[in-house]
Amino acid sequence: MSFQDPPRRQRQPRYPALAQYEDGYPSYQDTNADHGDGNGYQGFAGLAGAPRQRPPWDDPRQQSAWDTGAQWSAWGTGAQPAARDSDPQQSLRDTGARQTLWDSGANRALRDTGTQQTVPGAGPAGSSRNTGAHRSLRNTGGQRSAWDTAGQGTQGTEWDAPRETDRGLPRRTSGAFRAAGDDPGRPAHSGNGHRRAGRGLLPGALAGFLAAAVALGVANLVAAFVRPQASPIIAVGGAFIDRTPSALKNFAVQKFGENDKNMLLLGMYVTIAFIAIAIGMAAWRRLSAGVAGIGLFGLFGAFVAITRPESHVTDVIPSIVGGIAGIAAIVWLVQAGMPRTRPAWARGR
């Protein structure tokens, strides 16, 4: 690896008592998260296991004592305070802050690296993180050069534009799907109007939609080897017809005429799409929720199929196989969308 570590100086952390916050939680760079964009710094909200006690940079009451937001927000805009370069602590902070703006799994690792220089006053995160540093920096040359650039106090434009990949980051999930760089409190780019609130919703929605499509498609395929009425959409639609109130049925027959069945199917597909999108969004945050959601769908289809009049035991097969395919699809899609990073347990902490 051609990467060259930035110079290190061994110093005591400025806030040794805050070392507890270093691991996995917003590092000190996050203090200026608002950046004046009004998006709000969410701090530790929503983080599983976040300490109840607010660190000083997160506590409005201590805000003035901790830092002045103005200088920090200036960094994110790309304005380059000249004085900062002369200040090693500042430039290091700068590095870290930009790394925070980076997206993706390597990002936090890189950020960690940055903060781990125990420069005086480098902040609470700046303690011992040596083991992970090199490994986490293994990733890309882009970050490396970025680091170098930052270290030299010149700012590449790539830092300033919001990375497209910055969108769609997952929130913290459990286990192997815990993603790095997913702190909700991570600062947004200043002035770019980038909203963190929608992060992960679009890819999650897409994943859920596609997983449901896979489930229904595979179920339809399997139904070709059982019988068409065993297809879950047909079984559920038939059950719906049987349970439709007369008023609604009359309305459909009068309004849509002999297209009433197509309208029913259309309505079902739209409903399923909405539910699937919700499931996908949930899966993006917690994969088990997606697995459970699609699985319940499959079981529901199987239950309806087998309770139809004149049904056969084999009618459950399309729903079950389709459900399994849908679960596989949601797992696959969510994993594909997750940052390529080592899970927390493998980072050697």
Partner: protein, 351 residues
Amino acid sequence: MDRRKFLTAGGSAAALAAAAGFGGQYLQDKRFSVNTASVKIGAPSVKPPALAKGTQITDIPGLSSFYTPNSQFYRVDTALVVPQVSPQSWQLRIHGMVDRPLTLTFAELMKRPMIDHDVTLTCVSESVGGGYVGNARWQGALLADLLREAGIQPGATQIVMRDVNGMNLGVATDPVMDGRASLLAIGMNGQPLPQAHGFPVRVVVPGLYGYVSACKWVVDMELTTFGAFDAYWSQRGWSQQAPIKTESRIDTPRDNVAAGQVMIAGVAWAQHRGIEAVEVSVDGTWHQAKLAAQDTIDTWRQWYYPWQATPGTHTLQVRATDKTGYTQTAKNHGPEPNGATGYHTVRVTVA
């Protein structure tokens, strides 16, 4: 987030879903679709009398044809996918309140005397002026004969008919057995039944709304009583017995016409009673319409009235009188619970 990887996976998932879904549909059609052409509709055992001259009016544009083509025949049922029943596997089981329960195969059915009979079917969901009514020449075996062979018991007031999906319709025994041409039909307008219309066998009972009688894909008949079993639609608030109400419809004109002679034309039906007369009202004045010749009393009759249209907006209405002397009521009522009533009213602008 690894966008490229995610999009690749998403594209693959979409392709998989589409391939499986459409491939599955193709396979379903290929594997389960039955060929209606395997049933040959021959000449009937009893040849019906030739249609009287003037039974079919064909020269009025916009008027429904006397025989509704199979492709245009209305379809109202609860089957989300059209059941595919092979004639080779088709069986009709007759059981319940019969002395000799029997099972009939399609080959046995085809050996029975076949009758051609013209019957106009009507759906109870037909609102006044709607399109859920159609006339066809049905070919089939007499259901009453079959039930007599099975030894129908006197107390059996209801025949519960089930289709291959388990859908059930309940028809009163009396109209089936009273001599009218209630058919186990295999042919429609000289063709085998289309799949959507009950291939290979459906029930046609003249004079009753379809929801109590016209069971498609029928595979089971259980003789029982109305007290013992509530059929699908009567569980949902529709009447247990439902003879078709005397009704009439204006087919043309429906909107704007040019001044001068305008042909007001349409159809009127009062199945198994027969249409006696049709009257047309122009702005409240009733005129006698001319009727096409009567086919059977189980079919509709076309009618027309030449009208000298004057510029302005006019209200046209129609009412029919059946052969029992009953004139359809002017009272507007929706289809529930046993058929809609009221005069079909059309407002036209004459330019």
